[in-house]
Each structure stands twice: as C-alpha cells, then as structure tokens.
C-alpha cells in the first residue's frame, strides 16, 4: 500500500490561508483543494450545505475521465476544466497531483478565476511537495499503537 499523506496542523492552516486569499482575489464563493484520488484536503468559503466530500470525489472523477480522453488524442492531460451554469460555475485546475476547485457565480468571471488560480498554483504545488516528501517512518504515527480492539470497536 502506498504511504499515507500526512497533513500537519501548520501545513493545513497555511493551505487554508492561500485558499482564503484566492477566494477573495477571485471573488469566488468556495475554493477547495482536492487530491487527484478524490480526497478533500481543505476548503474555504461559503461551504454551508455544500457537500464538499461528494464534490471532491466527482471533481477527481471528472478530471480523471477528461485526462483519459486527453491521452487518447495524444495530450498529457487537460490542465483546466470549466463548467458554466446559469448562475453557478466551477473551474478546476490541475496542480501536480492536486486539483484546485473554485466555485463562483455572477459576482466573478471565468477569466478572473483562471488568472487568480494560476497565480497560486505554483505556491500550492510547492507546499504539497513538502507535505508528500515527508518520510512517514520519521513521523509519530497515531496508528502505530493501534490495537485489534481499537479496530473492532469501530464495528461494535
């Protein structure tokens, strides 16, 4: 099994700060960062009743499917995807193994969202590289001392 990704509290807050700034600069409703496997990493904005877990999974599925199409026509991937609705729209940009998802409405525009997303992409990619390059063996995993009873208790 691949080594887990460990997100430290400080790293999490750093990412949240970048997302908060992007959200403001892009006049977006919600901004969130998703792993390409569909795991939500952090979100920022008017999340309210928005089901970000499902949205993260579907965004990853969407990028995976269009990435598959890209390869069939000889492209490596499609680095950005946009879906424009009547009121709400979504812009997704691929940042290494991350997806930066921005939900926006008529208060913003696709051009602005694209521009602002691109501006923070490099910073987010660098931050995530540091996270994934940490050696799991060196970290005091909370699960090292997990017992069979702990696991069984989840199902009792």
């Amino acid at each position: 099994m691949a080594e887990p990704i460990l997100l430290r509290e400080q790293q999490y807050h750093q990412i949240k700060a970048v997302l908060a700034r992007l959200r403001m600069d892009a006049s977006a409703k919600v901004v969130f960062l998703v792993d390409k496997d569909g795991q939500e990493i952090a979100s920022q904005g008017e999340v309210g009743n928005l089901d970000t877990t499902s949205l993260a999974s579907l965004a990853a599925g969407n990028v995976a499917a269009t990435g598959g199409m890209a390869q069939l026509i000889g492209e490596k991937e499609f680095p950005t995807l946009s879906h424009e609705g009547e009121k709400e729209s979504i812009h997704i940009s691929v940042v290494g193994r991350l997806l930066l998802v921005v939900v926006f409405d008529e208060r913003s525009s696709l051009g602005l969202v694209k521009l602002r997303s691109k501006q923070v992409s490099h910073q987010l990619a660098k931050m995530f590289e540091e996270i994934t390059s940490a050696d799991y063996d060196d970290v005091d995993s909370p699960f090292a001392g997990i017992t069979d009873e702990d696991i069984d208790s989840l199902f009792s």
């Binding site: 099994m1 691949a2 080594e3 887990p4 990704i5 460990l6 997100l7 430290r8 509290e9 999490y12 807050h13 792993d35 390409k36 496997d37 569909g38 795991q39 990493i41 089901d51 877990t53 499902s54 999974s57 579907l58 599925g61 995976a64 499917a65 990435g67 598959g68 799991y136 063996d137 995993s141 909370p142 699960f143 090292a144 001392g145 997990i146 702990d150 696991i151 069984d152 208790s153 989840l154 199902f155």
Partner: protein, 194 residues
C-alpha cells in the same frame, strides 16, 4: 491513498468494490447506505445509465467512528462491471487502499468472475499495486439463488492469497458489513505497520 489530517483529526481511506457486471457491487453500497445513520454517512452518488447500470462509479463516504482521537472515514467506490468500461475501472483504482472483489455465485457467471478478477490484477498493476500485497477481501454474493457454485469450489477458483472469503446476499444485507469490516480492518492494520 490514505490521507491523515492532523488539523481536523481525520483519516480518510479509499475502498473499491470490484467485480463482474451485475454481481451486486452497487447493492452492497446501497445496503450500507440504507442501514447507516445519516450522520455517519454522506450522500450515495451514483453515476449510472438510464437503466441503472453503473456508468462511471458509485461513491459514498462513511464515518465509522474514532480511533485514537482520529475520525475514520472510508470512501467507498464501486466500478462499472461491464467489460467495455475498462478505462473507467482503471481510473477508479487510483489511490485505492483496499479492494473488495464481489463474485457472482451463479454457475453461469463463473467465467465472468474469472475474467473480472484477472482484469482487477492487471488494472492494479497499471496503477502500481500488487493484488497480493493490498488489503483485499473476496465476497461470494447471491448465495440465496438456486443455481450457485458451492462456496468451497468458488473460493478454490477465485481466492488469491488466503484473503477473507465472505458469503453474502447483498440484497438482504447478509455478509455486507462483515465484508466491509474485513477490508477496513486490513486497511487500518496496514497503517499500524506505517
């Protein structure tokens, strides 16, 4: 890939239900969804065709409880079983932490089981995984039907590495949670190894 968030004290793992067309992968998820308290699970997302065949995947987040102060959340996915959706199946296996192979116990589906299992091995390999090393459970589904292969014969044909073999009737829920528990336990045990 397991994702551990120290800030929100959450751990997220991805489990994929694999198997031939109409073997009951979606039915497993549907049963889990129906019999879990709403606060413990998210929506069941089904990307299905108009005839309710899985087109891309089904997805459901499920929170099992707390281990060592961390909320454990499992993201359950199914793949489309039909042979021609292979590209989609490959994509869904990305970042998988554990796999359930749902076998259809009916005699006439034996070849489909074998083909799908072979396909699983191949697709895991293309994603850099080895079936022999990944947390894995074999579920023998549809044990309530008349024309079924004896469980021992099915296991002899399909078991790969001494993985847990669980008899099930997903439509009534028999064996569904035992299967989930068996695979979740292996995933969490892997984390202990680090």
């Amino acid at each position: 890939m397991t994702f551990i968030n120290y800030a929100s004290r959450e751990i997220n793992c991805k489990i994929v239900y694999y198997g031939p067309g109409l073997c009951g992968k979606t039915t497993n998820l549907q049963y889990i969804f129906d019999s879990t308290a709403p606060q413990a699970r998210g929506k069941l997302i089904s990307l299905a065709t108009e005839t309710d065949r899985t087109l891309f995947f089904d997805f459901m987040p499920l929170e099992l409880g707390t281990v060592r102060g961390f909320k454990t959340r499992f993201h359950l996915y199914t793949v489309p079983g039909q042979v021609f959706y292979d590209a989609s199946r490959k994509l869904i296996l990305k970042g998988v932490d554990g796999v359930v192979f749902v076998a259809d116990s009916q005699e006439e589906r034996m070849d489909a089981n074998i083909e799908s299992l072979y396909n699983l091995e191949e697709n895991l390999q293309t994603q850099g995984y080895d079936l022999l090393k990944i947390p894995y459970v074999l579920q023998l589904n549809k044990r309530d039907l008349g024309n079924i292969v004896p469980a021992e014969d099915l296991a002899a044909e399909l078991q790969k590495k001494g993985e847990p073999v669980i008899e099930a009737v997903a439509s009534t829920g028999a064996g569904v949670f035992d299967t989930l528990k068996a695979v979740a336990k292996q995933v969490l045990t892997e984390l202990r190894k680090g």
